[in-house]
């Protein structure tokens, strides 16, 4: 799904490369919400999603001069954001598993659950499946594009997607049955 016409986005990238802070700010406001949403749906933590989205844009600023402006900006940003979100989710899962009882300090209260069952079902997926589902169904990339973004074989992407969707469907059907 395009959120900005390709020509206009290319113009903004060109101007940002030439030193226009306004163009950079405009690119940011065009892409931040989707980048944040994608990050949140992978990490399920508002503060971490904010950091991940911010890191994505900072990486974009750092690599701006090397960016090939014939290519779209969005996928490049999404690739950075989803990969960083995935890294965070993996680390957090590991940390929670091995260190839950080790903290001397009271952990912060968990963020308020919003978005209902879909968010909850998505959260139950392993981070790798979550990332693939978000790339496919929020950001609407093809399995081939996702394979390239995550540097995975296409078959792995397809299997993660299938397993993820099966579990989401199970959750949805269970809700439907419970709701009858």
């Amino acid at each position: 799904m395009e959120i900005e016409s390709g020509g206009n986005e290319r113009r903004l990238v060109r101007e940002a490369q030439a030193g226009s802070g306004a163009a950079m700010a405009s690119l940011y406001s065009l892409h931040w919400r989707r980048a944040y949403r994608a990050a949140y749906l992978v990490v399920h933590d508002a503060a971490a999603a904010e950091d991940v989205a911010q890191d994505g844009f900072l990486a974009a600023v750092a690599a701006l001069d090397r960016f090939d402006r014939r290519r779209p900006f969005g996928p490049w940003l999404h690739r950075i954001v989803v990969n960083r979100a995935l890294d965070w989710a993996r680390r957090e899962a590991l940390r929670q598993k091995v260190a839950r009882e080790q903290s001397v300090f009271e952990p912060l209260p968990p963020p308020e659950e919003v978005g209902g069952e879909m968010i909850a079902a998505l959260k139950e997926l392993p981070p790798e499946q979550r990332a693939v589902v978000v790339l496919r169904h929020l950001l609407e990339y093809t399995p081939g594009e996702i394979a390239e973004m995550l540097e995975l074989p296409r078959g792995t992407v397809n299997s993660r997607l299938r397993r993820g969707l099966d579990r989401l469907r199970e959750a949805a059907e269970l809700e439907t049955e419970v709701g009858r």
Binding site: Q54, F105, G115, L168
Partner: protein, 412 residues
């Protein structure tokens, strides 16, 4: 579940977004972009004509209009002014005023500086440490074994020479006493330089903290890591040292204590935690008593860089560092009176430094050495500001300098 319904659900499900998250990110991205621009060869140096200012202004105005009129305009209308301001070139040397007013005391490699509200600065001399007197009329400054009282214009008032190196001088709220560490011992001297006496011969390397209410009392950490309270008057005990009261074990890692303005809390800061020691003034005996000690909840994996109690309210501002494989991140949070849900004001890549409250308790100054900036963050509504070029501002003559340390922000 159909794919299109999943697509729609993922697009439309409300997700929690922290207050001001988008704006915070924009400020950080703009700061990074400005740094990038500073590193780029300028058009003037390349021999090409610079971009005309009029065209730049028109471009910004066009963007402004586009943002305000776009569907997202409503959301960005509140902060679009910042977009324009903070993407402008950073002023040189940058510190043209102190947002929020007041006088800053800043320690650089050259010595302490007093920064006026209009940004003008004066180097006090070649002192290694300094702190404000309660009303900002004097500065207690240390150099080697010397402790001096210096006027803010740099005029020395008096000086004494201690037996060992002088550290962490702290003026009492009444202005009548200065506590300081000399070697491992803790001592008190009157504000006029007379009556120097020992409080404790073996203390931890932590600056003492004066009680803001009642009879002058001094909190300090002894060599065993125990938080103690000493009366400031000598001669009340057999040893000749002031009477002294033990509190909880603060911990050997404690590196900072601070007594809150209402006298009811002492904040203990260590890399691994933040603790609040409850205090109560026994009005009949005229001395403080220890109450409950509580730990503040830290974000998972966070290390405390610095923390400070607000001058008028029971708020604690803290700077945390989070080590991650993608690099270090730092955040600034404020704990409210219930201590439960700290509010995050800022999260940036890299390391932040010290935090200081403005005299009115409405702003925070946070040092960002990696970006060579000071950040002035409002606690309530208002615009945050970043001031660049800080190292250069305290290195006259263009000499390279390390990033300076904010020692105090005075006075109401």
């Amino acid at each position: 579940m159909r794919n299109d319904s999943l697509n729609r659900a993922l697009r439309e499900i409300p997700v929690p977004v922290a207050d001001q998250a988008e704006r915070r990110g924009l400020q950080v991205v703009e700061a990074a972009y400005a740094e990038r621009e500073e590193r780029q060869p300028s058009p003037v140096r390349d021999g090409r004509p610079a971009l005309p200012r009029l065209a730049l202004a028109l471009g910004i105005a066009t963007l402004l209009m586009a943002l305000l009129l776009s569907p997202a305009g409503a959301a960005v209308r509140d902060w679009v002014g910042d977009v324009v301001d903070s993407s402008a070139p950073e002023p040189e040397p940058g510190l043209s005023e102190t947002p929020g007013g007041g006088h800053l005391l800043v320690q650089s490699a050259l010595g302490p500086w007093v920064v006026q509200p209009d940004g003008s600065r004066r180097l006090l001399g070649h002192y290694e440490e300094a702190s404000w007197s309660p009303r900002g009329l004097f500065v207690a400054a240390a150099q080697g074994r010397d402790l001096s009282a210096v006027e803010p214009d740099g005029t020395p008032h008096w000086s004494l020479t201690a037996a060992a190196r002088v550290r962490t001088p702290r003026w009492s709220p009444s202005g009548y006493r200065i506590a300081y560490r000399s070697g491992r011992s803790l001592r008190i001297v009157a504000g006029d330089g007379r009556g120097d006496h020992l409080v404790n011969p073996a203390t931890a390397p932590v600056a003492p903290a004066w009680s803001p209410v009642g009879t002058p009392e001094l909190a300090y950490v002894n060599a065993e890591g125990q938080l103690r309270i000493a009366a400031s008057e000598k001669g009340a005990s057999r040893s000749g040292a002031p009477p002294d009261m033990a509190g909880a074990v603060a911990g050997r890692e404690t590196r900072q204590i601070e007594w809150g303005a209402d006298g009811r809390l002492i904040l203990e800061v260590s890399p691994a935690g933040l603790h609040l020691q409850g205090m109560r003034l026994n009005k009949l005996e005229g001395r403080s008593e220890f109450r409950r000690r509580t730990a503040l909840a830290l974000p998972a994996g966070a290390t405390v860089v610095d923390a400070a109690l607000a001058p008028r309210r029971p708020l604690v501002a803290a700077v945390f560092t989070h080590w991650r494989s993608a690099g270090t991140r730092s955040s600034v949070v404020v704990y409210g009176p219930n201590r439960r849900e700290p509010r995050r004001l800022l999260s940036v890549p890299g390391s932040l430094g010290e935090v200081a409250w403005s005299p009115a308790g409405k702003r925070l100054l946070v040092a960002w050495p990696g970006a060579n900036q000071w950040l002035f963050l409002p606690i309530g509504r208002g615009e945050g500001r970043a001031v660049a070029g800080i190292s250069r501002a305290f290195a006259p003559g263009g000499r390279k300098s390390s990033f300076p340390q904010v020692e105090g922000w005075c006075c109401p």
